[in-house]
């Protein structure tokens, strides 16, 4: 180490004459311990009745007593039910069909309930349900100890009776004064709520119901209304799509309520040599862009021109101006009616053009007769309401499941308006900014404690039913409406009568069991006259203004209502792999321009990593109009130059644990409910931000055979032998001859043909990177949350991670052609290109048949089962961590702290309520042991036991793991290889199948399918 370097901890140390520094140097203990005062005081000492001998006796006795007492085991109590409910058998899980509809996410789910506690959500596959990461995690939000627990008035608790009385009186007086009563609620897609609000209106007269989505799709709804006369969204079936062109629509994310990835993935698996072609024009790197075949970086304002160009070419028959648009048009023409154009531009005219294009090409993907009801917000009405409130025209406001004080860009106006209404009531499950700003806060139950009917798509209804008795003194909004309109019915009874009134095709009980019923929709869509040429002119004339900001929602936090959920906070963003933060994504070009690039380090260029391997970023001040926010910058490959991206949903403070109060509130920039804002200015400010980013953790960089990909043309070329061309089997030298690595073995092979042999297949084509599997794994396997500081130290505990790979401009071939040296070549290879291709790869324990971890464990804590699972006996592990060192896939996680009983980690496991989500069938690991994916052995064993008890063989595709069950896209398929009828047995033999790092001979039981891109060349 250089001797002339000076190291210091504090700036004060630089001052040579500092007396403080000198004192600190001389005295190790800053505060003196007053031993002399105590021992020198002879008088006090002599007064004491305890002699030295007695003292020693006490010490001796208490030590002996303590050690004797510790020899006895603790007495454990077992408390049975007094009256056991019939449907509960302790130790056996019950499943109930229900629905999650929190205003942002909508999903039909199965709720796994153990002894009356919901512990996991699974997609209800019978009703085509699919779950994303937030839906999977919402079971933990049920056990949020900071939820509202009782009604309160101005912060002090009141009883429901008092609340009913006072609010009832206030409502009556407001109605008598002929002032407006406003109901502001998020989309709940619940036809019975609509009916109840109508009854409420009849009762009180002047009622205005405004639906407000924090992240709005109002532009698209307005466009649909103009065209078809109904406020709704068209539904899309991407499984029918052969050509998809998206202009700024992240439909694999949260565009129009999401839930498109299952259908999308169906078209992406090249089953019979065919797959859809996906072109994405976008500014931020999104999941859709990452999965696209062609991704074009376009900043938000230019997206309008692209759409106009598309419209002009496809509807007016003109030739496209833009080369990329021309290619997209070609693909669309080729696909004919199996093409679709979608756009995420928050402008009514742009949405009109997209629908007009789909109509022009006769798209079968877009369906306007079955509408999507998961977004119903009306921006104009919301703006009008805020204006009316400020003007004092609103007498009372009832806010349901909505947090406008936090999410409204003009929340200051809203708060001012709240001061002018006579009565403000917030119905909310959680404590939030709006709850604190209103007069009355009425706690509502979680979806898992509620009744409900949800019509996500017109005519298709899902039922919501409680799976636990309400944890707190809560009441549903609908029950309040019933009560306040003088209806004595409970909402449950109301639903029962209502669903037959809706014309359900089955009985209530059957519908409840299935979680679903359908009814013919009475609403007919009409076709209205729309001036499309005006819309075209308007869209074509949009001009950008300097740097542009594209707001987006993250896979983890969405609109931010589940910000107190540690699973979601710690879920790495699929693209940036960063946890616990939001940040400004910026292109390398712009970062250089604004002097926001980190100084070059020798190998990992353009970002500075500290000793822990954590990623850092500079802070900048982001200004749009009069709003300024200081935010860290993260350089994002694929970010369109001239644009920056920022995630909504962060920066909440109210009702959150201190650990969860991360990031900055981007809703301030969400002006006019438009996700793209122009006229943005950036200014670098002092300071370096430390990200908790997992993208550099556990890297396998520099080793081959990780992500394999090919093009559709190559895949379809039957003259090629995949083994030697696009899916090469690695070769090793054996007896001086090159042989396939799979044919050489150091070890004797066991016979695994009897019984079960589990394999997991992961299709890189179908994996969209959505992260549902990661959260499902958390829930199933009691994986602890470690917090931001620990994640930064590479101590994240995710058993399952989704690696994201960027392609690089540098290739072996290019290096060879241009004569570039090895060091520079590898260095360049780790430098992603400006618009990289992306691949997602879920990685968990590969369950190697010849596992390197097993041979190095000195205590045989990890061993192999004949069913193919690499087993980890926690009670045997002594924590040498040799296994983690020797694992080539870096999937083993060391439990550094007793996360479940350590108040330093104030997450769900240290919380009496949060502990209720733990799976009783899986050990909660203690400190000092290694843990990793078990291939859900508790689930496979349970499936086997079920078959044994019923005296039958296990079904063909009966085996599931938490991740494969949560995966709606079909990317993860789990099953028994010895059952030749199972899907996984066929996938294992597929020509796309390969193993990770095959040349090292680990023989994994996780098999990957080569990614096929529908690109040219």
């Amino acid at each position: 180490m250089a001797s002339n370097k000076k190291y210091w901890k504090s700036v004060e140390e630089l001052n040579e004459n500092s007396s403080i520094v000198d004192t600190l140097r001389q005295n190790e203990f800053v505060e003196e311990i007053p031993t002399d005062d105590f021992l020198g005081d002879k008088e006090t000492l002599e007064k004491s009745s305890t002699t030295r001998r007695d003292f020693l006796k006490y010490v001796g006795f208490s030590t002996a007593a303590a050690s004797l007492a510790s020899c006895e085991g603790p007495v454990k109590k077992a408390i049975p039910y007094v009256v056991k409910p019939n449907e509960i058998t302790p130790g056996v899980a019950d499943y109930y069909a229900s629905t999650i509809a929190d205003g942002y996410d909508f999903a039909s789910v199965l709720v796994k309930v153990r002894e009356g506690r919901p512990i996991k959500l699974e997609p209800n596959k019978d009703t085509n349900g699919s779950t994303n990461a937030r839906v999977q995690a919402s079971v933990l939000s049920l056990y949020d100890s900071l939820r509202l627990q009782a009604p309160s008035k101005a912060g002090s608790s009141i009883s429901w009776d008092t609340a009913d009385n006072e609010i009832g009186k206030a409502l009556t007086s407001v109605a008598a004064a002929n002032k407006t009563i406003a109901i502001l609620s998020s989309t709940d897609a619940n036809p019975t709520t609509t009916k109840l609000v109508a009854d409420f209106t009849e009762n009180y007269g002047n009622v205005r119901h405004v639906i407000y989505d924090a992240v709005s799709e109002s532009a698209a709804i307005d466009a649909f209304e103009a065209m078809y006369g109904k406020r709704a969204l068209p539904s899309y079936d991407f499984s029918k799509a052969k050509a998809i062109v998206s202009v700024g629509a992240d439909f694999l994310g949260d565009w129009q309520g999401g839930n498109f990835d299952n259908d999308y993935a169906k078209g992406r698996i090249p089953d019979h040599g065919k797959m859809s072609h996906h072109t994405q024009f976008e500014s931020n790197m999104t999941l859709s862009g990452a999965n696209a075949d062609v991704r074009v970086m376009v900043k938000p304002s230019v997206q309008n021109a692209i759409l106009a160009d598309l419209y002009n070419a496809l509807v007016n028959g003109a030739s496209a101006k833009d080369a990329n648009v021309a290619k997209a048009v070609k693909e669309i023409r080729k696909a004919g009616s199996n093409a679709v154009v979608v756009t995420g531009i928050q402008d009514k005219n742009a949405q009109l053009l997209a629908m007009a294009i789909n109509n022009a090409i006769g798209s079968e993907v877009m369906n306007t007769s079955v509408t999507n009801n998961t977004r119903q917000g009306n921006d104009t009405e919301v703006a009008q309401l805020v204006a009316d409130m400020k003007a004092g025209r609103i007498g009372a406001i009832l806010i349901n499941n909505s947090n406008p004080v936090y999410t409204l860009p003009n929340s200051a106006d809203f708060v001012e308006g709240l001061g002018k209404v006579d009565l403000s009531v917030a119905f909310s499950m959680v404590n939030n900014e709006t709850v604190q700003a209103t007069q009355y806060a009425l706690p509502t139950p979680h979806n898992l404690e509620s009744w409900g009917v949800v019509e996500m798509k017109s005519g298709q209804f899902s039922l919501m039913q409680p799976t636990i008795r309400p944890l707190f003194d809560t009441r549903q909004f609908q029950d309040c409406l019933l009560k306040w309109t003088g209806n004595t019915q409970k909402y449950y009874d109301y639903i029962k009568t209502e669903i037959s009134a809706l014309g359900a095709d089955k009985s209530f009980n059957k519908a409840l069991q299935d979680g679903h019923f359908s009814a013919s929709s009475s609403e007919e869509v009409t076709t209205g006259e729309v001036d499309l040429s005006a819309a075209y002119r308007s869209v074509a004339n949009v001009k950008g203004n300097g740097l542009e900001l594209q707001l987006y929602t993250k896979t983890g936090l969405g609109d931010g209502q589940q910000a107190n959920n540690p699973w979601l906070q710690e879920l790495p963003d699929p693209i940036t792999r960063t946890t616990w933060d939001n940040y400004l994504t910026i292109s390398q070009v712009d970062a250089d321009k604004f002097n926001l690039s980190m100084p070059l380090s020798s190998l990992t260029q353009r970002s500075l990593h500290d000793a822990d391997g954590g990623l850092n970023g500079y802070y900048c001040e982001l200004t749009v109009g009069d709003v300024k926010v200081t935010i860290p910058v993260l350089i994002q490959p694929g970010q369109a130059p001239g644009s920056v991206g920022l995630a909504l949903g962060y920066g909440r403070k109210a009702g959150l644990k201190s650990e969860m109060q991360v990031g900055k509130n981007a809703y301030h920039f969400y002006k006019n409910f438009n996700t793209s804002q122009s006229g943005v200015s950036l200014k670098k400010v002092d300071g370096v931000h430390e990200f908790a980013c997992t993208q550099l953790h556990n890297t396998m960089m520099g080793r081959g055979d990780i992500v394999k990909e090919t093009t559709l043309a190559t895949y379809n070329d039957h003259s090629l032998d995949p083994k030697h061309t696009w899916n090469p089997v690695p070769v090793v030298s054996y007896k001086h001859q090159e042989v396939e690595a799979t044919t050489v073995d150091l070890w004797d092979e066991f016979d695994r043909s009897v019984g079960h042999h589990f394999n997991l297949s992961i299709d890189l084509n179908a994996c969209t990177g959505c992260g549902a599997c990661v959260v499902a794994c958390h829930a199933e396997n009691n994986v602890p949350v470690v917090g931001k500081a620990e994640v930064r130290k590479s101590r994240d505990m995710h058993w399952l991670r989704i690696d994201r790979y960027y392609s690089s401009d540098m290739t072996e071939e290019k290096a060879h052609e241009e004569g570039i040296g090895a060091i520079e070549k590898f260095s360049e290879m780790e430098n992603p290109s400006a618009n990289p291709q992306v691949a997602f790869q879920p990685i968990m324990c590969q369950h190697c048949n010849h596992a390197p971890c097993e041979t190095v464990c000195p205590v045989a804590a990890t061993s192999h089962g004949r069913q193919g699972q690499n087993q980890m006996a926690y009670n045997r592990c002594v924590g040498t961590r040799y296994c983690a060192n020797n694992c080539p896939y870096k999937v083993r996680r060391f439990n550094w702290f007793d996360y479940a009983n350590n108040k330093e980690f104030d997450f769900n496991m240290n919380d009496d309520l949060g502990k209720m989500v733990l799976n009783p069938d899986v050990t909660v690991r203690s400190r000092g042991v290694m843990e990793k994916c078990s291939m859900c052995i508790q689930m496979t064993q349970a499936t086997i036991l079920k078959a044994k008890k019923e005296g039958r063989p296990v079904g063909d595709d009966e085996f599931e793991t938490a991740c494969s069950n949560a995966c709606g896209t079909g990317a993860m398929v789990f099953g028994d290889l010895n059952n030749k009828n199972s899907k996984v047995a066929k996938l294992k033999e597929d020509k796309r199948a390969y193993h990770l790092l095959e040349h090292i001979g680990t023989r994994p039981n996780v098999v990957y399918q080569v990614k096929v891109r529908n690109t040219e060349a």
């Binding site: 020899c71 085991g73 007495v75 454990k76 109590k77 077992a78 408390i79 049975p80 039910y81 007094v82 009256v83 056991k84 058998t89 302790p90 130790g91 056996v92 016979d751 043909s753 009897v754 019984g755 804590a861 061993s863 089962g865 004949r866 069913q867 699972q869 087993q871 980890m872 006996a873 926690y874 009670n875 045997r876 069938d921 899986v922 050990t923 909660v924 078990s934 052995i937 508790q938 064993q941 086997i944 036991l945 078959a947 044994k948 008890k949 019923e950 005296g951 039958r952 063989p953 296990v954």
Partner: protein
Amino acid sequence: MKILYQTRKKHIFISMKSVKQHNLFSRLTLSSLAFLFFFTINLSAQGDAKNGKKLFNSNCAACHKLDKDLVGPKLRDITEKRTNEWLKAWIKDNAAFQKVDADAKEAAEWSPTAMTAFPQFSDQDIDDILEYTKPVVVEEGAGGSGAVSMVPVQQEKDNTLLYILGAIVLVMLLMLFNLYRTVNELRGDAPKRQSFSEQANDVWEAFKANKFLHFLMVIFFLLATAYFVFGWLSQVGVDQGYQPIQPIEFSHKIHAGDNKIDCQYCHSAAKHSKTSGIPSANVCMNCHMNISEVADDTKIGNHGKDILDKEIQKLYDAVGWDADKLQYTGETKPIEWVRVHNLPDFAYFNHSQHVTVAGLKCQKCHGPVEEMDEVYQYAPLTMDWCITCHRETEVDLTENGYYKKIHEQLAKKYGVEKVTEAQMGGLECGKCHY
């Protein structure tokens, strides 16, 4: 007359261990004695109380007790309230009888539940039952002690005689041996004996001189210490024989042993779930709604009826059952049992696998529970104990449809017909630790 007395006595023998349903058997016995010896009335002419009791227990006891109201009124002294004919008419078909008899109509209002008709009873049957319900006259002061004297003390097997005999034989043999030696010594055949102290001294000297023996002894001492320390450490956390005091003095011996209630009647989760389940209090009430006190002679340890009746009361307190009004109060208080069998959290055990699939008897692991008043941990519940059984137990591959394919494969591939649990993978760490 004598025969009658004896049958009654025998009857007491039978009911001794069972829970008391209604009356005091001893009083009954004594009353019959009183009848026999002081009044000499021919009882058989009026009805056979033994048959009456049998009929009463199988037909009436669900709703009637002798000395206490239940669903129906108590039946002691009923013959004094109603005439024999009235009762016969009522019992055979009370609904029809109500239409013709005002008293019957009034009687029907006693309970909201209508009484079942018993047309199958003959007049003699009803006489027998009524005989059984008749009041008994108790001789002053003879109550409790009389009953106790009736209870035969179970004889412990006495081996004292055998020991004495053995000792005599031993002494005789020793005497014989000494006699033989003395005779030999007198003859001069045997060498003269050294004194005991001389002998001991020789051994001690030899021992002192032998360094190798010292070395061996040290080694032996160390090994022995290690053995015992290891043995002691191995039992840390092994709670075999653990018999905690439970909040209610519940006897498995009375329930599973004497009354032969199936284990899974109460522990019904065992066949479905990983836990066997402690029965919820409502399961207890299936029987204890009618059984509010134990038989007079029931004993658990030193505790007799006076204490044990209070234990049943504890159950009533828990479920909120008012034994006088015969209704639930709604105030419940869960019973906090003390867990006897504690597996560590990292070990997974599933009852249904062993009970339903393997068809094991509960006693295999839990021991003779039907003989335990208070349950103790019978098996050590160590891993060694688990895997020893898995090594020895053969899996029946033929009966269960799940194993059929595995059986075919094994037979075809290896010509194996039978495998042990261990060979099926029952020793793999991950089968129990996850």
